[in-house]
């Protein structure tokens, strides 16, 4: 039931719930959950942020789902980025050392190559993800959604009992 509601919310997010900017912001925040290892302090902070700020929460979930496999695929790249930043770049050594010995900061696991590499990767990718998502949602709503709604398939689905069942759980 929860999954069905989530799917409804995702469809609603794409179709009409929120402005393209809110959806894109949600996607950008959600991509952090997917690109970086989930159980980390920064993701907790981002989740609280997503709850509190008026962005599309279904889009956050969508971003998480879409970017989780990308995160797995890019782990070797993140590992190299993290290793370069933490170990190879001697200019940053004193910075990392002071962070490591500052209360709370080490709890963020920043000193793990994958965590740091993926976080940096996300920071770099967040802005392109935001703009691409914003463009994509606008384009979808302008070009794809009207055609979909006019299509015989969607009309047939909407007339079916399955759709009636779906509406029972629809978020309005």
């Amino acid at each position: 039931m929860l999954i069905l509601r989530l799917i409804q919310k995702l469809i609603a997010a794409l179709n009409s719930d929120g402005t393209p900017g809110q959806v894109a912001f949600g996607m950008a925040v959600g991509s952090a959950l997917g690109l970086t290892p989930f159980l980390n302090l920064h993701n907790f902070i981002l989740l609280v942020f997503a709850f509190l700020v008026n962005i599309s929460f279904p889009a956050v979930m969508l971003g998480w789902i879409v970017f989780a496999p990308v995160g797995f695929l890019l782990d070797p790249v993140f590992d190299r980025i993290g290793a370069w930043l933490l170990l190879d770049n001697t200019g940053l050594l004193s910075f990392w050392t002071s962070l490591y010995n500052t209360p709370v900061i080490p709890l963020s696991n920043y000193n793990n190559t994958i965590v740091l590499g993926s976080l940096v990767g996300w920071v770099v990718l967040a802005i392109p993800i935001y703009y691409l998502s914003r463009f994509g949602v606008g384009w979808y709503r302008a070009n794809v959604l009207p055609k979909l709604e006019r299509s015989k398939f969607v009309k047939a689905v909407k007339a079916s009992k399955v759709y009636s069942f779906y509406r029972l759980f629809r978020v309005d």
Binding site: F51, F72, A83, L87, Y100, T113, G117
Partner: protein
Amino acid sequence: MRRVLRLKAIVPLGLLLALSTAASAMFMDKIVEQAIEAVGTDIVGAKVELDGVEIDLAGGSVRLMGLQVTNPDSPMANLFQAEEIVADIDPVPLLEKKILVDTLAVRGLRFDTPRETSGAVERPAEQTGLIRRRIDQWAQRVQVPAFSLDGLTGTVDVAALNPDNLATPRAAAALSGAIDSSRTVWTEELASLDPQPAIDSGRALVERLSGASLISLGVRGAAQSLDQARRTLSEIDRVRGGVQELEADVTNGVDSFGRQVRGLADARNQDIAAALSALSIPSLDAPDISPALFGEVALARLKPVLYWLQVAEEYLPPGLDPRRRPGPNRARAPGSTVEFPKESEYAGFAVRVAEIDFALEEGPAEGNYTMLLNDLSSAPAVHGRPLQVAVGRQGGTTGPSSIRAHAVFDHISEISRDSIGVGLAGVGLPSFVLPGLGTEIDLGSGLNEISLVRRGDSLSGRIRIQSDNVSWSRGSLGTGRVNDIVWRALATLNDVDVAIDVGGSIFSPRVRVSSNVADAIARNLRQELEGEIRAAEQRVRAEVDRLVAEPMAQARASVAEVESTVSRVVQGHLQQLDAVKQELEAKIRDLRRMVPGN
């Protein structure tokens, strides 16, 4: 305009966080238990299990109950188990993800206890058991010589020596082959240089110009002769350069071959030693006998000491450089986690004071003990104080009458300084069979001392086993004159003193074993059998000499031949070229005076 904040989400979010915190507090004991088991299993490479964990956040204490650490080499036994471990933890460093234990008390520690189920893990990490494997590999490389009296009890059959097993003939044949190849190459090079036409041409010109004057040559003729002399000199210089290079090659080569021929004498000595060993003719030198008799005992005593030194090296690394270790186990790749230690801060893990009560239930050191640890730290340079360990005996009906055990692992500076001193008096010493003899020795009770010092890479120290109440049993030692001599030497020995001297480094130590047992055996054999052993040795030496004489002579002859042919020919050419060059240069000086402007 839409609001930026979702105000209605604040209350549910607060409730969610409060629920999460409450759930974490409720399940914290279980979470910590599982974390300790997982991390411990990763480090040990075999199951680490706990019966339970109690965490008192307000009091800052942690109590671990029923700890079992499986022996990775024997999964049905525990390396150790402890009934209870209580740690008082300083809460402030936890904010930096560091653990500082103020006091640690371990009760009911026992070693090598049986397990009900196997503690093996399916896929141990690569690093698991690495130190133990490294030490075992080192021990396998140490060659404990064999000791046998067979060569003295039977007839020495020197004809049984196999020439194919001797290294000298092989080395000599290889050397002769190398000399032949070099000679061929040098001869071909000399032929391609062909200095004789240049020498002849130079000589002819010098002869033609001898007695020539401006009147006989004329100005034009003198100028032409000068040109020709210069061209000839240039050609001689070119040829001479080539011959000089060849001469350097030949000289170096001949020198090298000479050294290798002299080195064959060492190979011959090694062949003689190998032949003596193969024919079981023992050395009568005590330093050769001790490693054969007590080499295995020495390795068995030294291995645990090396193990703990290397463990300290691994887990108490000196210095303040960033440290890389594998990241956590998770669905995502683990990556590497880097620690950035800093002086005067908290170490990643430190225990200020630990008191460990343990019992040895079996073996010669049976009894109850207390170990005091001060300043155990994963980053000694950060912690600023060396780890100190002291062990005292609390009681027991058997076991050593007195014990002195202390160790200091000072890894604060880049140069590690470790020292271990252990002295067990009145401790039960092992019984074992002397290798090669079959005689059984029961060392009774006595003194076992370990004294080791490590400074940087250098390791030095001594392990000593001493007893004055030894008993002997003839065991499988045969009868006959030689065996009886050995038995008389051993049976009268009441005191045994074995010293294992250690040098080198902790990763590649050198071991030297000495003992009064070997002295006694050597002395008795020497008194009664020296003549016979020397005679047998002479026969073996003579046989080896006979087998290696021809190839050695052949190698020497090859070097002499190269010296007398190629080397001398090349040097002869060089001398001729030098002589012609000097004469030509003199003629050129004369001609230049005849030709204006030259």
